[in-house]
Amino acid sequence: MKPKTLWIMRFVLVATVILSGMWSASAQTRTTDTIVTSDVYIVQPIAIYKLTDMQFGAIVSGASGGLVTLSTSGSRTKTGTIILPSSFAGRAASFVVLGTPNQTYSLSLPSSMTLVRQSGSETMTVSSFVSNPSSFAFNSGGSSNVSVGATLTVGGNQVLGLYTGSFSVTVSYQ
């Protein structure tokens, strides 16, 4: 009797196992995994600091006046009746700009500005601003030096005096 019972039980056990396998196969799901990268560039704020103001130095206008061009290295050239004494030389404006290493940035200069005589109202115009470099990027240290020159229009027999004014330079990431 015992062996017969055992045989039946064994058969039932095997049948159950087979049925379970079939159910698993029909309920099988598949998945597809795709790996995605996410990234971001966290950038330092941009800052500009003035090192030197722009100086056209001492100028004698003469009867006709003319133009005084200040280069980005601070040297001056003149036209017309202008004389440039060396006693008071010119100096370019200069700045250091700080930001994200190796990043390009943009720098804007005014198209023109006006100098006004101290204790007076006479004016002279400064225009044709130029910069060195002419396109801008930070070095690997996040620093960039810029020099700015321009051209001053001097009238004939321009009233003597100290003429001053101010202009803005704006920097931003492109």
């Binding site: 799901t29 998945t31 597809t32 795709t34 996410s38 990234d39 971001v40 560039y41 950038v43 994200t100």
Partner: protein
Amino acid sequence: MSVDVIQGIRVTKTSNLRFGPMIPGTTDGTVALDVTGSRTQTGNLILLTSSSVPFSAANFTMLGTPSITYSITLPSSVTLTRQGGAETIVVNSFVSSPSGNGSLDTAGTGTLAVGGTLTVPASQTPGYYSGQFTVTLTYQ
């Protein structure tokens, strides 16, 4: 002559989840990249635009059994680590289009877009941060 037999769904990624360049604000902020690839921010961080540093949603094309349906599993968050450092920044609130479930068309093709939200603390160290996450499609 060759034949490419596809079983199930083949996914091809066409762009990663890229947040682009930005400057942290004076307060903590967030940048949400939606499924169309548009960025919106909270806080006073500054979003920059640079042709050499693009931003985009993650985009995928799919090819497989016509009209097959699938469910999409996105991570709850992913941590990005600064290149050359150990600082981290977190992306969460993942979204997708389609959302939850989708299906391929009668030609067996489909597309998927994934966006997410980046949290940008005011003090976040500048640098390039990256990380990886998995998008899982489940289907019969």
